[in-house]
Subunit: 306 residues, 2 copies
């Protein structure tokens, strides 16, 4: 996957733009770049996880894109000269990538990978290394010898260890037990049940349509209550620490020496990780949107030179 010497011999054309999209379980971010990587405009939309289907994701991506193109002062017609790179939660296999890329859109080209793939590209500016995303969902990715290998990331509720969605689900589960007197009273349980008027039946109905991001909304309350010494919250945070450590070890075992830990829950976990792991952590050079730009540009450069 490294850029071949010939590619730099071809000067990038002037009126081609690149779109980097980072689509997660809660947000979708789009950034428009020129061929030199300068940001021209940004846009934002809602959940763009592929678990909700190709057409839903494209709706979100196009909404964010229109905002970015408008912010850049370009007409929407210029999308026909935009190469789009998409890093999407739930884009777990080549079938999904192709299905997403085959959708009719106004773009010059579309390349799809998982959000972890673009995140690791962004974090090391296209270089090698490992990443662990822990946000609404979770996924680890290692970029070694030009290959990308993942750890976890198979979605909620079967995977997504340490993620906000899983943490929120566990917290609400335990809160119900506290409410029924089957566990010791807890500050965290009280706060969570507050949101449902302390009526389990309301919570029971809510769960039927609850999506990963709905569960993840309760993760910050766990960290807050843990900081205040709540026993239940501390135990839940402990489980998230262990799960994140397990995934991090999995990424390191794929042969990388450095690891970026990103995502809201991931950042909150850092101070609590074991020392050996904290010593392997490094700060990302760029974000997943930047990585999606690199994905789009690398692909078009390769196409033009091959």
């Amino acid at each position: 996957m490294s850029t071949s010497p010939t590619s730099s011999a071809v000067p990038p054309p002037r009126d081609i733009w690149y779109l980097g999209v980072d689509g997660g379980g809660t947000h979708c971010r789009a950034r428009l770049y020129d061929a030199d990587g300068r940001v021209l405009g940004q846009g934002h939309a809602g959940s763009a996880s592929l678990r909700f289907g190709v057409s839903h994701v494209w709706q979100q991506v196009l909404a964010a894109t229109h905002e970015a193109v408008t912010a850049a002062g370009l007409p929407l017609a210029s999308l026909s000269r935009v190469h789009a790179g998409l890093g999407l939660a739930g884009a777990i296999d080549a079938t999904t990538w192709r299905e997403m890329a085959a959708y009719p859109t106004p773009f010059a080209s579309v390349c799809v990978r998982s959000d972890a793939h673009t995140a690791v590209l962004g974090a090391y500016e296209g270089g090698e290394g490992g990443i662990l995303i822990v946000g609404t969902g979770s996924c680890g990715m290692a970029h070694v010898d030009g290959r990308f290998s993942s750890v976890g990331g198979w979605g909620f509720p079967l995977s997504d260890h340490a993620s906000g969605a899983w943490l929120g689900l566990q917290a609400l589960r335990e809160a119900l037990l506290c409410h029924e007197g089957l566990r010791a009273p807890s500050l965290l349980a009280e706060r969570l049940l507050d949101e449902f008027g302390h009526e389990p039946a309301r919570l029971a109905k809510w769960q039927t349509d609850a999506r990963p991001r709905d569960f993840a909304r309760f993760a910050p309350a766990v960290f807050e209550a843990a900081d205040e010494g709540d026993i239940l919250a501390t135990a839940l945070r402990r489980r998230a620490i262990d799960d994140a450590t397990l995934l991090a070890r999995g990424v390191l075992d794929l042969g990388v020496t450095r690891l970026c830990l990103v995502g809201g829950v991931g950042r909150a976990l850092i101070p609590h990780l074991p020392t050996w792991l904290r010593q392997r952590l490094t700060e990302p050079l760029g974000d997943a949107t930047q990585g999606a730009f690199l994905l789009a540009r690398r692909l078009t450069v390769r196409e033009r030179t091959s």
Copy 2:
């Protein structure tokens, strides 16, 4: 809720029938009774959990009812003289009972309660006691001083401790970790992944539409592998034992002295429960369908005498 002396003074009319329905996360059973409690016919249909909505549940209930009435050799027109008692998984509050009972149906009357409510009625032939159902879902119920109080039973994935659905979810979660080398190899993990061609992406897509009973389908594999000494399966069974014990204690704490443990997973857990709990267990006198019959008859007797 005890039968008042006046009620027995009114002889039950001859051409009135009673329907007892037991609707769970996987099956729906209907039984037609005469006023003396003799079974005239039975019927069966699919999942009748209220998590899938009132009209879906009625579809299943009516399918099972038609089968039962036909088996009894009665014309469908006789449904207008049938009083129906329904015990349904997910019938967690009075709003739900009313919504379900208000649906247009051919019955003379309809009374709705949770499946745990009818199960405890059936288990003690209308007398007092406690029950713990652990099947696709789980719920505890105590019938004390004429009142019914529940423990757990708030549905999947927030409640349903020790249930087949929860056990299946945990087993698949762990199987994915084994597959990725993050946990030690396991016979159980191999068997579960076999069903998905050892492709995590297939499992990831499957979960999006998976319902509680789909997860519960994998619970028997856990018990089988645990019996064979598989470490992962044994740990999962251990968790189910602890969760079932927690719920059982919750029911006993509501003031009952005896407890029936029913449902497929519940029966499988019995030999592994702590001695103090096994000593409190008793065999149910009747099942939840029988309890639903008692619910329907009790209500109509009350109405005729009040």
